[in-house]
């Protein structure tokens, strides 16, 4: 049985851990606000972009359609982009995204497809390397990026577009975590190439007037589609950032509560043991005095 001193030390160490988790929870809560504002602030752009592309895509059809929209006509080569956080201690946040990606990759491999993987974030790179080795062709580390902006997403987009243009990928899918609410983040997949035209995008009311395009529909669409890849990645990164903080906040809240329970249990045990020892000592003294 542990001595009383061991137990005191144990309680002390749990208390110290609780202080850390409590602090981490509060830091995450503060960061969450900022990340959430950024995520909501980024939404109008992505939404307008999707609407405009849907609009343009309706007018361009058949053989004229850019390859980013129509695809290469094959579905053999897949590029899977997995975006996670750079840091752990966020509950199942990172592993959820990796698991979703892993399941998809395994399905594709069983179907005999070629799969190449791009990892964005340290927590995507390490497990994916372990699982798929050299299939991970490139990884990005965003831990040095303080505030997310288009500059952070651009290198990822450039790589994807290069892979596509040079014929190493037919389909590009992005895995990230959709930020549904503070208590719910859903690992999700989003197809980047060929571009998915949202059915829900509202057609712009023209009042019967003819739309004028400068330079022309085709060229506008051709400039927009590559940009859209970067925007989609950026919006996924924003959602991830907000999701990461809320997942960490929740995980640390749980940890703090567990530590509290543990401290309660240990203190009870400690007091009981102390009481037992005092009782034994008293019995010994009384027994001793009676014997005399």
């Amino acid at each position: 049985m542990a001595s009383l001193k061991d137990m005191r030390d144990r309680i002390g160490s749990v208390k110290a851990t609780q202080k850390i988790t409590k602090a981490m929870q509060m830091v995450a809560a503060a960061k969450l606000r900022r990340a959430q504002d950024a995520a909501t602030g980024a939404r109008p752009y992505a939404e307008r972009m999707a609407a405009v592309i849907a609009n343009l895509a309706a007018g361009v059809s058949g053989a004229d359609a850019p390859r980013l929209l129509a695809g290469t006509g094959s579905e053999q080569r897949h590029l899977i982009v997995v975006a996670t956080a750079d840091r752990g201690l966020a509950g199942g946040f990172n592993s959820g995204i990796v698991r979703a990606a892993r399941d998809r990759i395994n399905t594709l491999l069983r179907e005999g497809r070629e799969v190449r993987i791009v990892a964005v974030g340290k927590k995507a790179r390490d497990p994916l390397r372990r699982l798929f080795g050299t299939r991970v062709v490139e990884s990005f580390d965003l831990s040095a990026t303080k505030t997310l902006s288009l500059e952070a997403a651009q290198p990822v987009a450039d790589l994807i577009l290069r892979e596509f243009d040079e014929g190493r990928a037919d389909v590009v899918t992005l895995f990230y975590s959709r930020f549904r609410s503070v208590i719910s983040q859903v690992p999700s997949a989003r197809q980047l190439i060929p571009a998915v035209v949202e059915a829900g995008a509202r057609p712009v009311d023209l009042n019967g007037a003819v739309y004028t395009y400068e330079p022309d529909e085709q060229s506008i669409l051709e400039t927009l589609l590559p940009r859209n890849v970067a925007i989609q990645i950026l919006s996924a990164l924003y959602e991830n950032a907000a999701g990461e903080q809320s997942a960490r906040m929740q995980a640390m809240d749980n940890a703090t509560r567990n530590a509290g329970e543990l401290i309660g249990d240990l203190t009870l045990l400690y007091n009981r043991q102390r009481q037992a020892r005092i009782t034994t000592e008293l019995i010994e003294i009384i027994a001793g005095s009676e014997a005399i």
């Binding site: 109008p44 752009y45 405009v52 288009l150 712009v204 004028t212």
Partner: protein
């Protein structure tokens, strides 16, 4: 005079949203002005200034990349980079 509904959006956030008299923007085929009731029109943009005129007020934004979309509802400018120029 009828007002034009205008919004200027950058990837990170919305910089301007509201009703204005006129907006002048740097289209890739030349600068253009938009008033309320403009015909539907879409163009890519080049680096330059977006000037927002509303009554006596005048605000200038520097933008780079992006496009403008004029619909029956108003004008939306999606700029890849945008910052407000400080007024002298």
């Amino acid at each position: 005079m009828a007002k034009l509904r205008f919004s200027l959006v950058a990837p990170e956030r919305e910089l301007y949203a509201g009703e204005v008299d006129q907006v002048i923007a740097p289209g890739s085929q030349g600068q253009f002005g938009v008033l309320a009731g403009h015909a539907p029109f879409m163009t890519t943009l080049q680096e330059g200034e977006v000037i927002v005129l509303d009554g006596a007020k005048r605000r200038v934004f520097g933008i780079r990349g992006g496009f403008a979309d004029v619909t029956g509802e108003g004008l939306t400018i999606l700029a890849e980079h945008a910052t407000e120029a400080t007024i002298q």
